[in-house]
């Protein structure tokens, strides 16, 4: 960089460069402060509070977990995770395969429907499931005259699959889209029929992706607290038990010990999944998706997928319809009189509804901006400064929050930020921080991917022509990764306004979030208001997503 400065003779330029050369050091130090306070500190704190009981070292809370009861919930958690992950992966594979490889009509519509569940606030699918399939469920009781018990395992699997399958679908779809079509063509030319092609080419290439999707959904399932709280019944699982130990028992130490127990397997799985993903990248992306993609045109196959897609879409729409009708009927399940009173209550002057929605948008917005900007700068540093000492350790700490179950992070924050010198519990700062640390890992991956796609020679050219890091970053890197930036903004905002597990312990009267408000309303039996919140936030998310995607498209055309 010194050489670069010497080239510039203008005094003004030198001063400017002086400030701009601070870009990297300031960026790195801010990042270090951030990691120290918001990631390392709370976890060390949580660890120490679980092994020190009344100031003395003790493994009481860990040994507690050896009882038969905890063994049972451990087994439940595992069972649920495996079932949800298998079903979601199979379902997602079928959907992704159909969308990408089979000739059917209305693909864009189906794709949209399959992505809808990603923006559903928590709890609401669970409520829909109870309304549809419960003992007095519209389908099970009123239509089929059955007396079923949906609580526990069956309901949980159903609700979790419906909540999480889109993530597996997205992952598998992107793999299928990127499958090198020349292989297909080769197979076709060599005389393989469609089925043989699927067996010998598509499936083997997808193995890593399928395992990756399975692990991802398994992790989501065992970290989920929203569905088990409402639908779990006697079927206790680890994550909801952690929640209960804090809320019902006021026992933060037990919660911390339980959270720590969960961290080990989940972190291991996370890094296993990451490993698979990396491996996959080499195996599959060999070229740009070509126009001349071969698509299965066997009428029988098309028909099967069309029917399957239509039925499944109807089911998703039905779940949403239950939320919608919950919000506009007096009391769903009991009194189906139409009313707008739930919306009126939320939006009336003296209720907290407007404030809650505004808080959610403000905090979610702040976390979105912070997370995205943070990731852009971090991503640049991580990619460009490969010889930065401790780079991998930094990457590890930044990625960790994604691997951890949300409740664990929530507990770590409650313990850590309730005492000096960081007694910030209940402030906007803490909620934004907890949202942001969960967003950064994903953003970072998207943005690093984007930066890596930039040809290195362009960046080198910038240096040679006298650009410093700051200039190279702002003038070259940032504009080139616009698409990644928009993708991460969309993801951030959607996650921020629908997340529950991490934030449930840190919301306060000063700052509330819709997801926590929904839980409160459900607990109080105000299903109508809970649904109304859900409808409002889903609409906001859809509008914002569409607006951002459109903005991205427009920019693309301009450029």
């Amino acid at each position: 960089m010194k050489n670069v400065n010497e080239i510039n003779t203008s005094k003004f330029k030198r001063v400017q460069n002086g400030i701009e050369s601070l870009f990297i050091p300031v960026g790195i130090s801010l990042m270090l402060i951030w990691i120290a306070i918001f990631i390392i500190y709370p976890f060390i704190n949580m660890f120490s509070s679980s092994i020190f009981v009344d100031g003395e070292y003790s493994l009481k809370y860990f040994s507690y977990q050896r009882s038969a009861y905890y063994f049972k919930i451990f087994k439940n958690t595992l069972m649920l995770g495996l079932s949800t992950a298998s079903l979601s992966t199979i379902l997602a594979f079928l959907l992704a395969f159909g969308i990408t490889q089979v000739k059917i009509k209305g693909k864009r519509f189906f794709h949209f429907i399959y992505l809808l569940p990603t923006i559903t606030p928590p709890f609401l699918f669970s409520l829909s499931v109870i309304i549809l399939f419960g003992r007095r469920g519209i389908i099970t009781y009123h239509l089929l005259r059955l007396s079923t018990n949906i609580y526990g395992y069956p309901g949980l699997v159903l609700a979790q699959v419906m909540t999480f399958f889109p993530f597996a679908y997205l992952l598998l779809r992107s793999l299928l889209v990127n499958l090198n079509p020349s292989l297909d063509e080769a197979a076709f030319v060599l005389g393989a029929n469609q089925i043989k092609k699927f067996k010998t080419i598509t499936l083997p290439l997808m193995t890593h992706g399928i395992v990756g999707a399975f692990v991802l959904i398994f992790m989501f399932s065992i970290a989920d607290i929203g569905n088990p709280i409402i639908l779990g019944g006697d079927y206790s699982v680890w994550a909801s038990e952690i929640y209960a130990s804090v809320v019902g028992q006021y026992n933060l130490s037990l919660g911390a010990a339980m959270a720590l127990t969960l961290i080990i397997p989940v972190t291991a799985l996370f890094f296993f999944q990451k490993y698979l993903e990396n491996k996959n990248n080499f195996a599959m992306i060999t070229g740009k998706p070509s126009q001349s993609k071969l698509i299965i045109e066997i009428p029988k196959v098309s028909k099967f997928f069309s029917i399957f897609f239509i039925l499944f879409s109807i089911f998703i729409v039905l779940l949403y319809l239950m939320i919608l009708s919950g919000s506009i009927t007096k009391l769903i399940g009991i009194n189906y009189g139409l009313t707008l009173k739930h919306f009126k209550t939320i939006f009336s002057g003296d209720s907290r509804g407007i404030k809650t929605i505004m808080d959610t948008l403000i905090l979610g917005g702040a976390a979105t901006i912070l997370g995205t900007l943070f990731s852009i700068i971090l991503g640049y540093i991580l990619v460009r400064k490969e010889n930065l000492p401790g780079r991998n350790i930094l990457d590890f700490f930044l990625t960790m929050p994604l691997a951890l179950p949300g409740v664990a992070i929530g507990i770590a924050y409650v313990i850590g930020f309730n005492k000096e010198p960081f007694a910030w519990a209940g402030s906007a700062l803490i909620i934004i921080a907890i949202l942001t640390i969960r967003l950064i890992p994903y953003d970072l991956r998207v943005i690093v991917k984007g930066i890596k796609q930039i040809d290195v020679s362009i960046l080198d050219a910038s240096y040679i022509l006298g650009g410093n890091d700051y200039k190279t970053f702002t003038k070259i890197v940032a504009p080139l990764i616009r698409e990644s930036i928009i993708a991460s903004i969309i993801y951030n905002f959607t996650r921020a306004i629908t997340t529950i597990s991490a934030v449930i312990f840190v919301v306060s009267v000063n700052w509330d979030l819709v997801s926590a408000a929904i839980l409160n309303k459900v607990e109080e039996g105000k299903v109508g208001q809970a649904s109304a919140y859900g409808v409002v936030i889903t609409l906001v998310a859809i509008v914002l997503n569409l607006a951002l995607i459109n903005y991205g498209r427009k920019k693309e055309i301009e450029a």
Binding site: Y69, G232, Y250, N418, A425, L429, E524
Partner: protein, 345 residues
């Protein structure tokens, strides 16, 4: 446009981040403005907001409240021990208050309004005083009971009828304070051995042990179960939502949650805090609160049970349950419940 502005964006980012760190420090400073009267409430939001509103109306003293769950509130009091923000802790179950008093988090104040209050409902040194007692009871879905030919249950034994199989809901003592109140009251009423015999028998009829204390009301209201066990005050709120619930109490007696209030040690607004305690324990104060919440049993003996609740409470017999004993036994009883009842499902 994006390109040009990115430099500015980055500067804004650095600036925002520094501001963000400063903000964190500021929030705590700001909360501690000179002697502001802040109340931490652990009851349901509605109880706390109404109490504060009526207090200000009656005395002209301005107060701000923060609704926190019992555990959260207790943790916060501990955190702020050397520099408390709030002056009053309002509502929340008795056992936590005892621990707080033991840890020196509470300030002893014997209010003149408390002189008629039964000694068992207040701390002799004045660390805490009972505001209300909240009994639990049965909530039933009359329509479904009628279909099954069952009357509204009025005795613990009624729930043992085989017709109730899979039709009774209560919460899990491990996750809900309500359920522990029920469990410990049963032990206090029947003795431990009999109580667990009873629980083993009723286990057959239990549809589900819910995570949350109020969920049984919703489920019974929806017709998913015939009868549930919840706090009567919760049941009343759910009735207001439109759930068809019939409330009844077992003649043998029911337990209750003792909801206390206390002055916080080192209260920044001590005089206001004393005024609040004086008002909320006074006959007038409790009568005003009763117009809002009729199914509480107010601690002041001069406040009789509300007319509207008289019918429900006709057979009400409160089980004497020593709070100290209940708190001490909590871990053991819960574990026993898990091992002998829950695990045998």
């Amino acid at each position: 446009m994006f390109k040009k502005n990115l430099g500015i964006y980055s500067l804004v980012f650095v600036f925002a981040l520094s501001l963000f760190f400063l903000l964190g420090q500021n929030i705590m400073v700001q909360a501690k403005s000179d002697g502001e009267f802040i109340i931490y409430g652990s009851g349901e939001e509605e109880y706390v907001s109404v109490a504060v509103e009526e207090f200000t109306k009656a005395t002209g003293i301005e107060a701000r409240y923060l609704r926190l769950s019992t555990g959260e509130c207790f943790n916060r009091l501990r955190a702020e021990k050397n520099n408390p923000n709030a002056s009053i802790w309002f509502m929340g179950p008795g056992d936590v208050y005892r621990v707080a008093a033991k840890e020196g988090l509470l300030y002893p104040y014997i209010s003149p309004s408390a002189k008629n209050i039964d000694p068992s409902l207040k701390d002799p040194k004045g660390y805490w005083t009972t505001f209300v007692r909240v009994p639990f009871g049965f909530v039933s879905n009359k329509e479904i009971l009628d279909k099954a030919g069952l009357p509204i249950p009025t005795s613990w034994d009624d729930l043992l009828d085989p017709k109730y199989k899979g039709q009774v809901v209560m919460s899990d003592p491990f996750t809900s304070g309500t359920a522990y109140t029920i469990l410990s009251s049963l032990v206090a009423l029947m003795g431990e051995e009999k109580a667990f015999e009873y629980l083993t028998k009723i286990n057959e009829n239990i549809l589900q042990y819910t995570k949350s204390g109020s969920a049984p009301g919703r489920m019974v209201g929806n017709g998913e179960a015939m009868t549930g066990l919840i706090f009567i005050s919760n049941a009343v709120q759910q009735q207001k939502q439109g759930y068809p619930l019939t409330i009844s109490v077992p003649i043998e007696g029911v337990g209750y949650s003792q909801e206390l209030t206390a002055v916080i040690a080192g209260a920044p607004a001590l005089d206001d805090a004393k005024a609040f305690i004086d008002w909320i324990l006074s006959t007038d104060g409790q009568k005003i609160m009763q117009t809002h919440f009729k199914t509480f049993i107010y601690s002041n003996p001069d406040v009789p049970i509300a007319k509207e609740a008289a019918e429900t409470f006709e057979n009400l017999k409160l089980i004497d349950r020593d709070m100290v004993w209940a708190a001490d036994q909590s871990e053991r009883l819960k574990e026993k419940f898990h091992e002998e009842i829950f695990m045998n499902r």
